[in-house]
Amino acid sequence: MVLYTTLSRGSSTSIGGQRIELRDGDPPRYVRDGYEVLLAGIDRLLIHPAPPIYLPILGLFRHVMIPIKPAVIVGPKAEIEVVRRVVTDIAVSTPTEEVEYVDVFPLRTPKMAVYGRTADGLLCRYMFPGEGPGTVEVRLRIRSDCRHPVTLSRIVVPTSLFRIFYAPESDRAVTAPLDVTLECDVAVIRAGDEPEDMVPIPLETERMLTRRMQVEPRILRTVLAHVEEFIMDRGY
């Protein structure tokens, strides 16, 4: 199934039970379930996975929580590669040099979770497991440096490391592989190399997001900050 495609004037498609179309006219208009946007000087739109920072509340998430079901028990000094698929949001964007998202919508109710205590924990975007179109493959390369077995039931990743790549004119999407090193009390996560034969999803610039969120740039930078590694405090 071709999910991530180009929407040209007069064409329409159905994603997750929602019909989206780029109606011909002067000016053309993008329509989805009662949501409408007029377009000027834009004849086509791109459909691709959206980064998990827009829904349910734009800009609130610096981390995503990926459930690992069934849980994995990693023995001392052991290594394992776990591949999970999680449901992603869909973005419709302009094919311009500076990208603007025309629409971002979920394929299932977007939800949040707190990692840690509700008093001072991390508010994360919860990535539901799923199968089929609209999901992103997450490859976790887990290595334990710990002397005792560690149970891994979910993993918290900074959104800056959760980099999504997709193949246009297909329904394939993956994240950069995540190298997870378990060090007993903490887990260190690093993003691996970009996958071949895939392209990174078009992202809105900081300027664009700042305007959309109506927040100060410094707040946004904390969301987009390129973090090389993340310490998960007892984060299994």
Binding site: L55, P56, I57, L60, M65, T109, P110, K111, M112, A113, V114, Y115, G116, R117, T118, A119, D120, G121, L122, L123, Y126
Partner: protein, 270 residues
């Protein structure tokens, strides 16, 4: 050396006394200015700006006061009597300004303790609203209905403060009564479904719906779920309405209080 004479009046001090008095005052003034700058610059690194400002200003004025005492001493005025007079006046002012000092100290402690800060949604002394300003004497809050409140820091410091922004998530809780003829499991399932469909209700910690008690007219279900603190109120109002709508759709009755009344027949008593 002769005393200074102005327009025929002879002043009780000489030019030398005046000169040394002015030098003393100038010395303390310059020292005060330098100390004020140094204290402020170092103070703002470890203390809130307003506190650093207050401390540096206080030190400056104390030094100016000492300089003035020095000037008067040089001019032949006995500083001891001034100090005694000042002490008595200070005592009187001290008693009168006990509340002011108490507020000032409470303000300093509030700055150190930081239970609230500007912009926090709070409830203090029964006033719920957003903190607009905390200065050394009072805390200013704009209540939810837009009314300005000035609360003395002494009260803020000694009362119970509810700060609604300190935690990541808050729990929403309802008590919902359903009719005795309705199936508790079905009602629970409907509520779980509504919560699952609400983006503001968190997946972790998960929601809880359980039969809490058997009331006079209804089976009471307790509903608990968590929402991000800033969206708590929105989640609370949205989900309750959705539960009511879902119950109406699914035919779950939220009963009125009922009382069965038996009327005794007088003839039966006979």
């Amino acid at each position: 050396m002769a005393n200074i004479e102005i327009l025929g009046f002879q002043l009780p001090f000489t030019y030398q006394q005046l000169y040394s008095g002015v030098v003393t005052l100038a010395f303390f003034a310059v020292l005060g200015l330098i100390l004020r700058v140094i204290l402020y610059r170092y103070g703002v690194r470890v203390l809130p700006k307003k506190i650093a400002e207050s401390i540096s200003n206080t030190v400056f004025y104390i030094l100016i006061f000492i300089g003035v005492l020095g000037l008067l001493g040089n001019l032949g005025v006995d500083p001891t009597s001034l100090v005694v007079a000042g002490g008595i006046a200070g005592l009187a002012i001290g008693f009168a300004s006990r509340t002011v000092v108490s507020n000032l100290l409470s303000g300093i402690f509030l700055y150190i303790d930081r239970p609230i800060k500007e912009g926090d949604p709070v409830e203090v002394e029964g006033v719920g609203g957003v903190v607009e300003d905390i200065n050394v004497l009072s805390t200013r809050i704009t209540s939810w209905d837009g009314v300005f409140h000035r609360i003395p820091n002494e009260k803020v410091f000694t009362t119970i403060i509810k700060n609604f922004s300190k935690t990541t998530a808050r729990r929403v809780e309802y008590k919902i009564g359903i009719s005795y003829k309705d199936d508790v499991d079905k009602a629970r399932e409907i509520i779980y479904r509504v919560i699952d469909e609400e983006p503001l209700a968190l997946v972790e910690p998960g929601p809880q719906v359980f039969l809490e008690s058997l009331g006079d007219s209804a089976q009471i279900l307790a509903v608990r779920f968590w929402a991000p603190t800033p969206q708590w109120f929105t989640a609370k109002t949205k989900v309750l309405q959705r539960i009511k709508e879902a119950f109406d759709r699914e035919g779950i009755e939220i009963p009125f209080p009922r009382r069965v009344v038996y009327i005794k027949d007088e003839r039966d008593m006979a």
